[in-house]
Amino acid sequence: AQSVSQHNHHVILSEAASLELGCNYSYGGTVNLFWYVQYPGQHLQLLLKYFSGDPLVKGIKGFEAEFIKSKFSFNLRKPSVQWSDTAEYFCAVCNQGGKLIFGQGTELSVKP
């Protein structure tokens, strides 16, 4: 069965530190890849997405992610985090069947 794995359950960083959140998926075919963010008490919002083309995609708020097909990975990065980036981050994969599968989420806490 298709699955999405986020390796870090909880990440704690100081402001201005660099961020990388890992995401791996298990599916051999064509996939569409997403990162969503859920700020405390809010709904999920799209950070960025990859469908085709340049494997390095840029999203909102300075986030970017790189699709590495050979590693089945879609890691999220930000060079310098802010306190306002404190949130839950979800990687998600959609296969050709149209079903969006989410990873278990990574909680990011940024200390001011």
Binding site: F34, H43, L44, K99
Partner: protein, 116 residues
């Protein structure tokens, strides 16, 4: 102008009761979804409707019954509530299915259900 709106936002009820959560989207999307987020924040799809037709039905107890009166609404009715049904339920919508390329999910704010 809320794009995907769910009601109620909070719902506290006793075991064995029947309850409904309503969802409406004003984006003109043709596909709507229900996701369940458990206490560990894990999100799992439950149902998906396209133009009022059920297209995804995950392994969900048949106590859960979605109803789509039109493509802008997808309600979730739950019979005989159990403790394990406590979760946050998110409604979402998209234009077309997500395998199509440019489509993304737009989520509602969530409905937190607590079963006592």
């Amino acid at each position: 102008d809320t794009a995907v709106s769910q009601t109620p936002k909070y719902l506290v009820t006793q075991m064995g009761n029947d309850k409904s959560i309503k969802c409406e989207q004003n984006l003109g999307h043709d596909t709507m979804y229900w996701y369940k987020q458990d206490s560990k924040k894990f999100l799992k799809i439950m149902f998906s409707y396209n133009n009022k037709e059920l297209i995804i039905n995950e392994t969900v107890p048949n106590r859960f019954s979605p109803k789509s009166p039109d493509k802008a609404h997808l309600n979730l009715h739950i019979n005989s509530l159990e403790l394990g049904d406590s979760a946050v339920y998110f409604c979402a919508s998209s234009q077309g299915d997500l395998a199509g390329g440019a489509n993304v999910l737009t989520f509602g704010a969530g409905s937190r259900l607590t079963v006592l």
